[in-house]
Amino acid sequence: MKNIKYYAFPSTAKEAVALLLNKKYKAMALAGGTLVAKTLPDTVETYLDIRNVPIKGIKLQGGNLVIGAGATFDEIDRSKLCRSWAGGVLSAAAAKCSSQLIRNMATIGGNIARPHSFNIFPVVLLGLDAKVRLAVRSGAKLTDLPGLYAASLGLRPGLDSLITEIIIPAKTRKWRCEFIKLAKTESSWESYIKLFFSLEKKGRAVQSRICVGALSPKPFRALSTEAAIAAGAAPQDCAAAFAAELEAARAGEYRSAAASSLLRRFLEAVK
């Protein structure tokens, strides 16, 4: 951080993007700073504090849940809207992040800006089919979670664009979901595995999402397991399919066994 020459605090997303794109400044946006403040690349010369950019609220818009990228983990944990959405999985996930002091600072936008194994929200938002809105040179761009981390996006949020909103579709409002973090201690940032389960049943499974994090920087959906659930396989067979999928992803024996047991329990609990 010793190479910083300027400190800027833009008041709009447009202003922030203009600064990020201005080669003179070599700027980087920092939100809560909990992940990157200590590891700011030496090439960065302008520190862009985005606290005045109006991207903080949590609201309902057209039936969708819209979370401003600047919303902190604490705000998401306490938000009545988040607590009532998808069984409160967003708030439950936010509450599992590190300690209260970190939750007061860390933002959802910062958490998804870069793919990282131990980040919480990429796994949850992948499972909830969330879309991400970015402020870019030409205005705005909407993408989904896999798209955000795909090279084809051609953007580096925080360096040439700014995440402004996370949109969680209306269809997920009543989904039954569960987020599990297996870690050495509750407040550990590092974890052995992160799991997001979701299942809707009307006689048989009508939709399911089985998402896995902490094994690789980008979370992934266990598609074979989801197919087994859709085909009406028994919980123990779905769990076996999940264990096989995790082993193929080199999760290791402990993580595969623990995660598949947790999935079996979840499936058995959903009547």
């Binding site: 190479n3 300027y6 400190y7 800027a8 909990t34 403040a37 209260q100 970190i102 600072m105």
Partner: protein, 170 residues
């Protein structure tokens, strides 16, 4: 971008304006310096340097009323904001209800974690005047104490909440 919204480093320092414990100040903070180090360098020694990685909570200060980790907040981020350290809460002669409660409950042993713990408790009581034990434990989960088992601190926060509620009624 308006020049008002940008500060330039001069000879390795940023000039920032902020309020510390209610007093408006202009401070020169070093390039790359974190709030913890800047505050200590300017004399607020109650802000303790523990892990310096955001794990222990010894460096907790209130930034615009919210408890944050001084070791993870770049000092320049405090520009235009209000910082509260334990020095701003009460004095030896006129302690804050939380400070009194911590002493009375025997919640202080070596004392290194206590400024941070009291500031986290202050923010909690400002937001939730009558917190449950679970709320107290959650609010303090980032403030590590290696001397005690947290029982006395939780008791102290409960007692302070009762005392402050009594003062509000009076």
């Amino acid at each position: 971008m308006n020049n008002k919204n940008m500060i330039e480093a001069k000879k390795g320092f940023f000039e920032i304006t902020l309020t510390v414990n209610g007093e408006p100040l202009e401070l020169a903070v070093k390039n790359g310096e974190f709030l913890l180090d800047a505050l200590r360098r300017h004399g607020w020694k109650s802000v303790k340097k523990g892990c310096d990685t955001g794990d222990c909570g010894s460096c907790t200060v209130l930034l615009d009323g919210k408890p944050v980790l001084g070791c993870l907040v770049p000092a320049v981020t405090a520009h235009g904001r209000a910082v509260t350290t334990i020095e701003g809460l009460g004095t030896v002669r006129k302690p804050h209800a939380l400070q009194e409660a911590f002493v009375a409950a025997g919640a202080v042993q070596c004392g290194f974690c206590i400024p941070g713990m009291i500031l986290s408790s202050k923010a909690l009581l400002d937001a939730v005047p009558a917190p449950t034990e679970a709320e107290i434990r959650k609010a303090l989960d980032g403030n590590l104490c290696r001397c005690t088992g947290y029982v006395k601190q939780v008791e102290a926060v409960k007692n302070a909440a009762k005392k402050l509620a009594g003062k509000r009624r009076a």
